[in-house]
Symmetry: C2
Subunit: 317 residues, 2 copies
Amino acid sequence: MDLLEKLEKERRAVNLEVQKTLVGKPDRIYSAAKHLCLAGGKMVRPMLCMLSCEAVGGKRMDVARTGAAIELMHTFTLIHDDIMDGDVLRRGQPSVHKLYGVPTAILAGDLLFSKAFEICDPRAYRILARATSEICEGQELDISFETRTNVSEDEYVEMIRKKTGVLLEAACESGAVVGGGTDEQVEALASFGQSIGLAFQIQDDILGVTADEEKLGKPVGNDIVKGKKNLIAIKALEALKEKERKELLGILAKKSNTDAEIKRAIELFQDSGSIDYCKKKAREYIKKSDSSLHELKDSTARKELKLIADYVVKRDL
Amino acid sequence: MDLLEKLEKERRAVNLEVQKTLVGKPDRIYSAAKHLCLAGGKMVRPMLCMLSCEAVGGKRMDVARTGAAIELMHTFTLIHDDIMDGDVLRRGQPSVHKLYGVPTAILAGDLLFSKAFEICDPRAYRILARATSEICEGQELDISFETRTNVSEDEYVEMIRKKTGVLLEAACESGAVVGGGTDEQVEALASFGQSIGLAFQIQDDILGVTADEEKLGKPVGNDIVKGKKNLIAIKALEALKEKERKELLGILAKKSNTDAEIKRAIELFQDSGSIDYCKKKAREYIKKSDSSLHELKDSTARKELKLIADYVVKRDL
């Protein structure tokens, strides 16, 4: 990937901070905590933090540790989410609770959480704390949607804003704050982060049914099996005729689906036009993020932020 | 309890901060997060924080919020511990995961964790973060001891220092820091907190086999069923003759014990003298805590800290 190559130096710096932080005893909890970090995350959040810092006049390397803190925070949420959702694969690897058992996986998540606060900049810790509270609220909403059949688009957007948007927002906001940005700059970058966070999650949902399974690192159609009410499902349920709607609801409600059922659900998504709707929606959020960026002076960092935004909707993993 | 009556105003202030903090949506995660807070904790940690603040010249009410943060942190560890240990009772109530299921219980713990960082004093957040990392390490050690038969007293003390000592230490340390204490005062109070933390955990282990079940709020002999290697078990295994030692190891290794087996294990503890040994050990730590206190000037707060220390080994719940 072009962008990731371009930002290779930054990714290495963040990775070094992550490695330096995750050293301690007993070995077992630190191995568990490191497992997903070593499985190769894209590090979008630390990049956003560093570029936001530079975009307001700071030095990107000054927030490498805070960027690492945000990556630890993100990894903590992935580990706990996988336990809650019963997901056994992540980034093409067995999930942490699958390898180490639920107790150590809970603890590894908690450890990443506290380590994040140990290393983040003092000016960023409250931003991160508030974001994490919202992430918890968002995850609870996501779970509660599984058993509902009438989730609206607004409810979905509120859920992914909390579950995904706020951490990308916090990454940009904390970078801008540490970089010494004005209130207007901090607000513009926070808004940029939130918009690409929403686009990111919608794109994730799309990839969950359209991507190549090997690239995806987890089963295609996972959300269908779990009955997740993501925007694809919501818009399909709104658009389909009664018979097809009932058929889709039946597949979503069933807890263990056959490959044929998953394929049929994806067919219904395609027929209803909901996947195209979601692609359009993701592009709209990227467009919105672009207008937030234009409140900042032009700079290399701003150009790179724009590249990240474009990458969000173009990526295939 | 005399002491709790004496500190009723402080407990109410902390409780109010806890209540104010745990307001939000969705209802379900906030109810889950509040459940144990409403079940009536002793609030020893917030009291330590407030009195440490005053003992160095600060105002105790200035750290009511930070005290509340520490109580939230403590509650978060209880909720996650209960999931890991499969404990279904806590403070005489069903545990959070028993009432709300594991996913919401994990989230409720995470939420309490982030809320703690939202409300704690900026001068305290890193102290709390470091403490929580050690708590995770301690809990992992505790779990790993269950399947070992040769845990030493030193290993046990290191485990409870991390699992219990550091949070009481952090409570005193953060109170002293926010109160503007000198390095020597902060160190003396941190050391005081750690000593009573160790005494507190040993007393907890003793109460786990000697207390009245109703007061205890959970089954007597719970640690025996789980095969926990607390100091009572360690000293008994060291002191017993081969035949009784094997009998005790057999009971500890069994995952579901009869009432008769639990009674027999407690009898073996009594016979070996290990319960008396633990009582002596707890009193030694309280004595040590007292010499830390004497590095501070005499004051009402210092007298109250002494009362808390004495309470730790005298309490029956």
